[in-house]
Amino acid sequence: MPKIENVAPTNFSRRSQLYRRHVAAGAAFTKASASAVVAAYSGEHNEVHCAAMLGLADLSSLPRIGFKGSDTTHWLEKRIPRLPSRPNLSKSQDDGGTVARLSATEYLVLGNLTDAPSLPAALQDVSIDSSTQRVYPLPRSDSHAWFALTGTYAPSVLAKLCGVDMRARKFANGNIAQSSLAHINAIILRRDLGTTTCFYILSDTSFAEYLWDAMLDAMAEFDGIPVGILALRALENGISE
């Protein structure tokens, strides 16, 4: 694994709701967009291997933004080459990020897993003339916590928490379900990392601690554990060790 520069979550004004849990689990953090994200946890586990089987990562510190309004599709078409063609579909982007379409007029733009510049930051800075364009930005970085559930057993865990069929052959890569997860509303989108099944889960930030605990509980029977972003990057780059 590459050497990482360890940072403390409290070095930043932006802090994941879960940073205390990560610290207690022995996490080392790395900087991501003016915040700290878990690089890896201490322990005997090979996190890449674990993430390929069943892992849960907190990506809440990474950038993301939403847009909605009747002119949004047209407005985004000029800025994003690969826009999902219908609601509840997402597409990976060149920068490694993901654009999810939630309705005819609403989109969610997720950043990539690196600290490199990404679409959400670029789009954040575009000014929109509200008198001529019906495009309304949504503060998804703060309204929603962002988790990644990875690995072979991820669909089995979701089957315990969500009433939508997310088995691999029924819920293809790029599919989105806006549904109830562990009794709270969530956006669940399948976004495989390399050949590893991965689901991004976005739910109300204030439920982050509840959902994190509920998911780890559901994962226990499959020996799932929290993993850091380095393991996710490795999976995305096809390193399966």
Partner: protein, 97 residues
Amino acid sequence: MKLLNCPLNGPRNIAEFSYGGELHTMPNPTMCDSREWAEYVFFDRNEAGVVTEWWMHNASAYWFLAERNTITDEVVRTFPASEMFTERVDSINADKA
């Protein structure tokens, strides 16, 4: 558990939805008499047969309309509210002058 077909999200367990009551057409609030207004506010038709109802998919906060047979509990059809409400309501007082 019953399934309901959301026009945006497809068929989902009915637990994912909230019921929004029967569809009522508001009489002109400044023109109608008190009885007409009271019936609009307080009375449901509660018909035995096909009724049109508001439903919302909770996770996407998406309102739509459903035609449901209250005798068989069969949902005949669901459709976006925009199919019924096509025009901007400019002035609520002017719609029934």
